[in-house]
């Protein structure tokens, strides 16, 4: 299988402090990789560095997506190549409804409506983005947005944290739905591992102190 994402010797810092160090990771087309590790070990930082979000500065190393080096591309350019990030703590945006954003992500109204139904998000669409959403609602909203992006690599940051069992089931089902055609890949961060009851993974990694260990 072809490498979709290839990271070599990646180190990055945030505000002068080294956050991740010497990361080597490949994700093949159709592969789902799970990333575990303690709080503050650098998991979220790694996903954000891949997409170029946040104040992370690459010190060494390269990120290749579909054989193209993306270190210096803007967030939007990386997204347009096919990378999508599910935020762990998405910001509130006042006056912008979830529905208005969904319509910008995908112009096919039927598809948007279908996905809203699939994610049982009918009651969320009129609300301001990420305002007064419960834990489960936030995750559903994030994943719903991702499902309308035309991505090839999903970076899912703790899709199961702060979510009740009912929602985990739905989220697990929808992640499988995203991955079903085996053409897309994902990196999933999980603390509890609950999501693994629903999603099949091909590879597991552990991050400790900014370094990747135990790649299986």
């Amino acid at each position: 299988m072809r490498n979709l994402l290839k990271i070599t010797n990646l180190s990055a810092s945030c505000e002068g402090k080294k956050i991740i160090s010497g990361i080597n990771l490949t994700v093949k087309k159709g592969q789902t990789v799970v990333l575990m590790g303690p709080n503050g070990s650098g998991k979220t930082s790694l996903l954000k560095t891949i997409l170029g979000v946040g104040n992370f500065k690459i010190i060494t190393g390269e990120i290749y997506f579909n054989n193209k080096k993306i270190n210096n591309l803007s967030i939007t350019e990386r997204v347009r190549l096919g990378i999508a990030l599910m935020f762990q703590k998405p910001p509130k945006i006042t006056g912008v409804s979830l529905l208005s954003l969904l319509k910008l992500l995908n112009h096919d109204e039927d598809k948007v409506n279908k996905q809203i139904k699939n994610f049982q998000a009918e009651k969320l669409t009129g609300r301001d983005l990420n305002s007064n959403f419960s834990g489960g609602e936030l995750k559903r909203s994030e994943l719903l947005q991702l499902s309308l992006q035309k991505a090839r690599l999903y970076l899912l940051d703790e899709p199961d944290s702060g979510v009740d069992l009912e929602n985990i089931k739905l989220i697990g089902k929808q992640i499988n739905e995203l991955m079903k055609d085996k053409q897309r890949s994902a990196i999933i961060i999980t603390h509890s591992g609950q999501i693994l009851d629903y999603v099949k993974v091909d590879k597991a990694c552990r991050m400790v102190n900014g370094q990747l260990k135990d790649v299986n």
């Binding site: 979000v53 967030i75 939007t76 910001p91 945006i93 006056g95 912008v96 992500l105």
Partner: protein, 361 residues
């Protein structure tokens, strides 16, 4: 006549909410420079006249003309008093509820003109009226001054919804002077939008909630550019028992200066009011000030204010970019959300037009 207007002028007029199918409106009056160029009354329940005709017909409108505003309150007001050009007179008859909006356009098409306008709006008892006023200058006018005196009377149980949209040029100076008096159980809703460049705009509409249970709500949306100075305030005098007022002013500063002022005087039992000034600075080199003031004279009232000025958060921008929107698209969506124009319930998809403007900024 409207037919004589150039396509450019018409396009700009549309941008301030003017409708070129006047038969679909409650009525229309267009004033170019000092003269009316189009007048249509479609509804016997409303009277729309140019101000000179109205003054003649009603023998000087003594009960209304210069009754709410002191002609000597400042040099601009005095200028209109001494050299009055034109204006609109709009009156809805008692107990008549007209939901189809009436439109009035004040248009400057002459270089270096000082347009001295005086308007009067009367909502008779129990009536309802919706007015859209578009004030603008032609693109070919570089320098001009617009002074607009407006006296509005909302009588017992009447409701007036008033939208004013400005679209001036970079060297145009604007001095509106507006006062509204609201009687018992009357409601006044004002929406003001100025999101296109203007050199110098200063206004501070006053509203006297004289009647028991009278209500006023103001929304102002302002956008400043480099070299523009915008100073917009709203003063509400809550003088009737249980009168209520809400003033919301939102400004986006991409340069130049915006000052948003608010003053509320609570002078009757049981009054309730809230003042909200919110600002967003999106570029260096600009200045934004929010100056709310509450002035209470009664023990049993409830008056609050809120003022906040901030910048666009990097986190919000990156979040939208992570969804594939460009930086410009993300910025536009956040500023649109901040202004939240859809909350104004503007007529004829005017909110849609305003969205388009914001997108083009």
């Amino acid at each position: 006549m409207l037919i004589d207007l150039s396509d450019g002028d018409k396009t700009k007029m549309r941008s301030v909410g003017m409708n070129f199918k006047p038969e679909k409106m409650g009525g229309s009056l267009f004033i170019q420079n000092k003269d009316p160029i189009f007048h249509m009354m479609n509804n016997s329940r409303i009277e729309i006249l140019d101000m000179k005709t109205a003054l003649n017909k009603y023998h000087g409108l003594k009960k209304y003309y210069w009754q709410l505003i002191d002609p000597k309150q400042d040099e601009y007001t005095e200028q209109v008093f001494k050299d009055f050009h034109q204006g609109y007179f709009i009156r809805v008859k008692s107990r008549q509820k007209v939901t189809v909006p009436v439109q009035a356009c004040l248009f400057i098409a002459q270089e270096k003109l000082s347009q001295n306008i005086h308007n009067i709006i009367i909502c008779e008892e129990g009536s309802e009226l919706n007015i859209v006023t578009g004030c603008l200058s032609a693109d070919y006018v570089q320098e001009a001054l617009h002074v607009g005196i407006t006296e509005m009377y909302v009588k017992k149980g009447a409701k007036l919804t008033f939208a004013m949209i400005h679209h001036w040029g970079e060297k145009i100076k604007v001095r509106p002077r507006t006062v509204t008096r609201v009687e018992k159980n009357g409601t006044f809703l004002s929406n003001y939008i100025c999101i296109k460049p203007v050199a110098d705009l200063q206004m501070s509409p006053n509203c006297y909630l004289n009647g028991e249970g009278s209500i006023a709500r103001y929304n102002s949306f302002l956008y400043s550019y480099p070299n523009s100075a915008i100073d917009v305030g709203t003063k509400v005098f809550l003088e009737g028992k249980k009168a209520r007022a809400e003033v919301v002013a939102k400004g986006i500063c991409s340069g130049g200066e915006i000052t948003v002022r608010g003053y509320m005087k609570g002078a009757a039992p049981g009054v309730k009011s809230h003042l909200d000034c919110k600002g967003l600075i999106i570029a260096r080199g600009g200045r934004m000030r929010a100056i709310p003031e509450l002035d209470a004279f009664m023990p049993d009232l409830d008056m609050t204010h809120e003022a906040a000025i901030g910048k666009i958060s990097q986190e919000q921008l990156e979040y939208l970019e992570a969804r594939g929107l460009s930086e410009k698209e993300s910025l536009s969506l956040i500023t649109k959300g901040f202004l939240d124009i859809s909350s104004m319930n503007l007529p004829f998809g005017l909110d849609r037009q305003l969205f388009d403007y914001l997108e083009a900024l």
